[in-house]
Symmetry: C2
Subunit: 381 residues, 2 copies
């Protein structure tokens, strides 16, 4: 629908009761920022929860009135007439605990001490986020989700929903995700964390009180991350060995010489302006820790025996961060448990980032899954 | 020969005449550190030059008397009875200009100003290094090399020798190398450089005068580098998701939790103790700049038309830094010019690092190339 905009606004809900966390700590009097799109139907059977990845938020779809370029991060996927159609579904986006876009995070006050959390913000896991999201669903009066959906780290949350609340999820849509991180994935996260934590402006995580921001570390973290989000192919196609200016080399080690350097520096600079350093540590750690098979001696099939939801898994051919083989692991474990499963491997050049981009085949797969499978369950709910 | 050690010692040669550099600058009164192994024969036809990669040196083979663990970086490949047999060949290792192991570099005094070079050390390229190496060969009385050999960035120097001094090289052994860097390769270099250059202890490259060392940046640079040297497979096999201590998670964002984190931090710490930050910038830039096809509109076949040497190319199946496909590009360009070429693709799990490791098939390929091809040319020289 060209010219049509869905105007949305964030909502905030405070939860006073303590939430027990996986670490043994707990958090109380916390706020979750969320948005909803579409209408909850009378039987409350059309709710779809969207879980976000590292640097995204509750602002999944639509636009903010009066704000240019304020499209939600998955607006190509979700909205009126989109693959996840908000004319049919009541879609909820929620900002995770510890993030920096409105939900309670390290930059907020600890109600027990009246001091800013900073480094003392409790370590949160995928399982903790899912528990917090379940409480939000309770508050919204939603017992059962038609679907829970996410890409990358968001896909891990969708998967974890099917294990923590099997009876509350009919469908899980897990895109460009993995059942845990590899050593290489952890290694890249650790480089990013060390860049932040060793920035003198980080002050052990209590930089708010010092009036500083560890921008150097955040820039490096984002640059490293960006490399892993793109495929080698798409980087060569977009940037190759093109020089930033003209055709003559400058012969400089510190100035920008190649286009790819300029692009990465720009991404790093932008990110350092808006993203919280403690949040970066927390979210990459949640990625590291996620490993549902761990409690089952590494046996993912045993771990997924609890899941009763039906699954759509999507992977992308050039994603080397969470390669198709990682989705195959989830698929195999589900099949070992005789679960119903659809799987699409999209031939796309964009690497891990493909899950955020508008690819006709990818959009088509999700659209047809919601039209045929998710809506069918909804009708019988 | 178990129990046999080849004792060696570094030598130093000063070059007073200015060396014109690709950037337009020049450098004078510089020193090259080098080592030699074996004996130059009467016809001076048995010289093999070894070119080093990013963090290696002239100390290629043998050990230093009285120093434990002082084996040269390619001692598995080079020495008496080794694949490059110093009972037959006169092997030369040379530390490149701008490095930090004895040749003139940014930590030394500029004879024109009597000040430490620091950030003002001229940018050096692969081509400049080859010119400096050629002068060293002149000084050693060696007109023609039986072979020039290197891995990774060292392989680029070997390739460049065949283009800059075609008549002075009979064989080029180019291992785990590439005809230029991809955008992704440059991107990883740029992350490392930014980590160093934005470390407050770097002082724009003039940290020597400030009595500081940008160790934070060097650590990050090394951690990033290390990830790209290893394959995903070997990281999973060596470290996987193993915890550093015990079986219980600590739930900490700054402490070490996984073995892979501990390994990377250790590598970073070690490196920051001995490697020069300006050298890191210079050498990664030399990698970025290397691109013999550039002057030929990107046509590598045209660029390699000058080469008359015979080639051995070796690549490793799991090397994702300089993948086998990059060696295929060199092979194709040589074949387009009807050059004599041997190529081995070694099925090894270790990623880029494989070129430094002792793999029986790899060692066998190099040994047989030297025994059959290199020695045959030598006999007729």
């Amino acid at each position: 629908m060209p010219g049509f905009f869905m105007f949305v606004q964030p909502q905030y809900l405070q939860f006073d009761a303590p939430l027990a966390l996986q670490s043994g700590a707990s958090i109380r009097a916390y706020t979750l920022a969320y948005e909803t799109y579409g209408q909850l139907n009378a039987t409350k059977s059309n709710a779809v929860l969207i879980c976000h990845a590292l640097n995204a938020s509750h602002h999944v779809a639509g636009v903010y009135a009066g704000q240019a370029k304020s499209e939600g991060w998955w607006h190509t996927m979700i909205g009126p007439g989109k693959p996840v159609d908000t004319d049919t579904y009541f879609v909820i986006g929620v900002n995770n605990l510890g993030s920096c876009f409105g939900s309670t995070g390290p930059m907020h006050q600890n109600p027990d001490t009246s001091e800013v959390y900073g480094a003392s913000f409790p370590v949160v896991t995928v399982e903790d986020w899912v528990n917090a999201q379940a409480r939000l669903m309770d508050a919204l009066g939603i017992q059962t989700l038609a679907a829970v959906m996410g890409g990358s780290l968001g896909g891990m949350q969708a998967l974890s929903w099917t294990l923590q609340y099997p009876s509350r999820v009919r469908h899980a849509v897990v895109v460009a995700s993995a059942p845990n991180l590899t050593a290489e994935n952890i290694a890249f996260n650790e480089v990013a964390r060390r860049a932040i934590a060793t920035d003198p402006d980080f002050h052990g995580g209590n930089f708010y009180q010092h009036g500083t921001v560890p921008k150097r570390g955040l820039r490096i973290a984002r640059m490293v991350g960006h490399i892993t989000y793109l495929s080698d192919d798409v980087m060569n196609e977009k940037f190759g060995r093109e020089l930033r200016e003209g055709v003559d080399l400058k012969y400089s080690t510190q100035e920008v010489e190649f286009q790819i350097e300029s692009y990465l520096r720009h991404q790093g600079d932008k990110f350092a302006e808006y993203f919280d350093a403690n949040t970066y540590l927390l979210i990459t750690r949640a990625l590291d820790y996620f490993d549902p098979a761990r409690a089952f001696g590494g046996d993912l099939s045993k771990a997924l025996a609890r899941a009763t939801a039906k699954f759509l898994l999507v992977s992308f051919s050039t994603d080397w961060r969470f390669a198709p083989a990682r989705s195959h692991e989830i698929a195999k474990a589900l099949l070992d448990n005789h679960r119903e499963l659809s799987y699409a491997e999209i031939n796309a050049p964009h690497g891990h980032d493909a899950f955020l981009l508008e690819d006709a085949r990818y959009m088509g797969v999700v659209r047809s899954y919601f039209e045929s499978k998710v809506s069918a369950e909804m009708a019988t709910a």
